[in-house]
């Protein structure tokens, strides 16, 4: 019997914490590949090329170009998150209300598109949205005005909603499926109509799902540089594009890190707000 296995047992049966050895590989891994790298961003963010301390990289967000890109990112990501939520909530309600709960099948349907490369899938929207593309073909068939959104912020929002919708649907679906049917019945039993039942019982009970859904859409939408590159042409610059260029083209890692810190601050802010919302209940 190996000693590590003995330890495995001791930590599994009595929680004495003797099994630190077993946790060691992962603790080491996460320290080295998660914590230290983040510290490096912090370090680069607050130093200049000579290694001297500076806050310029962070305050650079206020410069006109950066501020505009950042504001645009914030706006588009908030709009996308709201649209995703409005689309996903009814869908999750319908799916969780289905008689036969084919849980795995539903999750599969949303993960399946990921097996086709996400860049290609996003690019496909160009083909669909083009002046002579499929969608305009259908619109003109019904004598409707044609859609000219390619290379505009609207196309970027569409790309964000398309790419991140599953990340909104799945947590909502999860949260809604977990609600005991009798709890909803109890609300009706106590006199609540459909609307009251929804706002007083179903919605509050799905808050954990709403929070993780919003986070999982908002964060990648706020920080993306790919969707704007693919669907915005080179006309619409987001904060993600700015940071990416600092690293791959301008090679100003300090500035890139500084701007990343700003992004992280917003991500953390989002998490704090979520945590507070969750606590309120």
């Amino acid at each position: 019997m190996s000693s590590s296995m003995k330890k495995l047992h001791s930590l599994y049966t009595d929680k004495s914490g003797k099994g630190k050895l077993l946790a060691a590989p992962y603790v080491f891994w996460s320290a080295f590949f998660i914590i230290i790298p983040l510290c490096m961003i912090l370090y680069y963010g607050v130093t200049d090329k000579t290694g001297a301390f500076t806050l310029q990289n962070i305050t650079a967000i206020a410069s006109i170009g950066h501020a505009r890109a950042f504001w645009r990112s914030l706006l588009l990501s908030v709009v996308s998150t709201v649209i995703c939520f409005l689309l996903a909530y009814p869908l999750a309600m319908i799916l969780s209300g289905m008689k036969e709960k084919k849980h795995n099948f539903i999750i599969l349907i949303f993960i399946l598109p990921m097996w086709m490369n996400f860049l290609l899938r996003t690019l496909a929207w160009q083909t669909l949205l083009e002046k002579t593309g499929v969608i305009n073909g259908i619109l003109s068939f019904f004598k409707l005005p044609s859609l000219r959104i390619i290379n505009t912020p609207y196309a970027i929002v569409l790309g964000m909603v398309y790419n991140f919708l599953p990340f909104m649907v799945l947590p909502l679906y999860n949260a809604l499926s977990k609600i005991d049917e009798n709890v909803i019945n109890a609300a009706k039993d106590l006199g609540a109509n459909k609307i009251q039942t929804f706002f007083r019982v179903i919605m509050p009970l799905s808050i954990p799902g709403i929070i993780s859904g919003v986070t999982m859409v908002f964060v990648p939408a706020l920080t993306t540089f790919v969707i704007s590159t693919l669907l915005g042409g080179s006309k619409v610059l987001l904060i993600g594009n700015v940071i990416e260029q600092e690293f791959t083209q301008a090679s100003n890692w300090h500035l890139g890190s500084g701007l990343s810190i700003v992004l992280m601050i917003f991500i953390i802010l989002n998490m704090i707000v979520s945590a507070l919302l969750d606590k309120e209940d």
Binding site: V183, L190, A192, Q196, L205
Partner: protein
């Protein structure tokens, strides 16, 4: 008998082609404690859900207070439900849980506060207003579920196996509590359970159900002492169910031996089933009884000994306070009054019921 409050008329319901209730009729009176009793899948919960409005019957009508409410949604019905596993709103405090129905009805705040106080007092949980449901024990959550329902002053309280998740001791305590609450509130309770002891303890009327049919309706005493068929006899308590022949009025042949009984009107030389409760089987010295047998098993049960006695090819279940060791030759005697004669099942459905045994 009190005034009729609820009438179920010709109720049928099937799920996915499976018949759950078949042409069920049931009357429930004001201020009555009615228990729907039966094994799982017998249709008792479906019946309750039809009353609550959560399931629509395929056929038939639900009459409540001489009004047809078959198609009235649950939120418009003047009855409230205590659900299995409580179904409390975990995101609200106890006070908000109890106030839920009253707030929906836009009652004034002072009225609501009084009601919460009263309800918590009734269920013996004063001072729990600010707690969250998750911080309560199962028994306490159960009481809150009852409080939440009764503050709406329903005419009928529906209880769906409310004690199922509690341990034995708590369950017995809650049985007394429920009877006390019912007497205090003076409303009708419709109670669903598969636990015969619960049913016998609390009910005014027991409705024994199996496979979508009502097997027998009666007081606990009549259900226990005079089961109408083998299913009821077997489901309620232990019993010896033996195929027999009715020789003539007041005389039945059991296992080839004639016993005096008190039943009449079964005809002459008719095959019947007899039910004899184990506590009604008297053991005597051999040759002094009606049949002779040998004790084959013996278990001490606390209040009594449980024995099996082999006599004329049948293992008789016997409860007695007298120790009779295994191997003892004994006689068996049964008071004519304690021999319950039942008709053999005739229809296919009844047959199905009998096969279940």
């Amino acid at each position: 008998m009190q005034k009729e409050l609820i009438k179920l008329e010709h109720i049928s319901k099937s799920f996915d082609g499976q018949m759950v209730l078949d042409d069920l009729d049931l009357n429930i009176h004001e201020n009555e404690f009615v228990t729907l009793l039966g094994p799982s899948g017998c249709g008792k919960t479906t019946t309750l859900r039809i009353l609550g409005g959560f399931v629509n019957p395929d056929n038939g009508r639900v009459i409540f207070d001489s009004r047809d409410i078959t198609n009235v949604p649950p939120n418009k019905r003047h009855l409230n439900t205590v659900f299995q596993k409580y179904a409390l709103f975990t995101h609200m405090t106890i006070a908000d849980n109890i106030a839920f129905g009253l707030k929906i009805k836009n009652k004034p705040k002072s009225y609501i506060d009084d009601k919460i106080k009263y309800a918590l007092k009734l269920v013996n949980l004063e001072g729990y207003e600010k707690r969250m449901p998750d911080s309560l024990s199962g028994g306490q959550q159960q009481r809150i579920a009852i409080a939440r329902a009764i503050v709406n002053e329903p005419k009928v309280l529906l209880l769906d196996e409310p004690l199922g998740a509690l341990d034995l001791k708590l369950r017995q305590e809650m049985q007394y509590e429920l009877i006390r609450m019912k007497n205090e509130l003076g409303i009708t309770f419709v109670y669903v359970t598969h636990d015969q002891e619960e049913a016998l303890t609390m009910s005014d009327t027991i409705v024994v159900m199996n496979q979508g049919y009502i097997q027998q309706i009666g007081t606990p005493e009549s259900i226990y002492n005079e089961p109408e068929n083998a299913f009821v006899a077997d489901f309620i308590g232990d019993s010896n169910i033996i195929a027999a022949t009715m020789i003539e009025d007041k005389l039945v042949e059991i296992l080839g031996v004639r016993f005096a009984c008190v039943d009449t009107g079964f005809g002459i030389r008719k095959p019947v089933d007899v039910v004899i409760r184990p506590e009604d089987v008297e053991l005597t010295a051999p040759e002094e009884g009606t049949i002779n047998g040998v004790v084959t098993h013996l278990i001490f049960k606390g209040v009594h000994y449980e024995m099996e006695v082999m006599a004329n090819g049948f293992e008789w279940l016997v409860h007695s306070t007298q120790l009779t060791p295994v191997g003892t030759k004994v006689g068996i005697r049964v008071d004519p009054f304690n021999i319950q004669i039942m008709n053999k099942p005739e229809s296919e459905d009844e047959e199905a019921v009998a096969l279940e045994l």
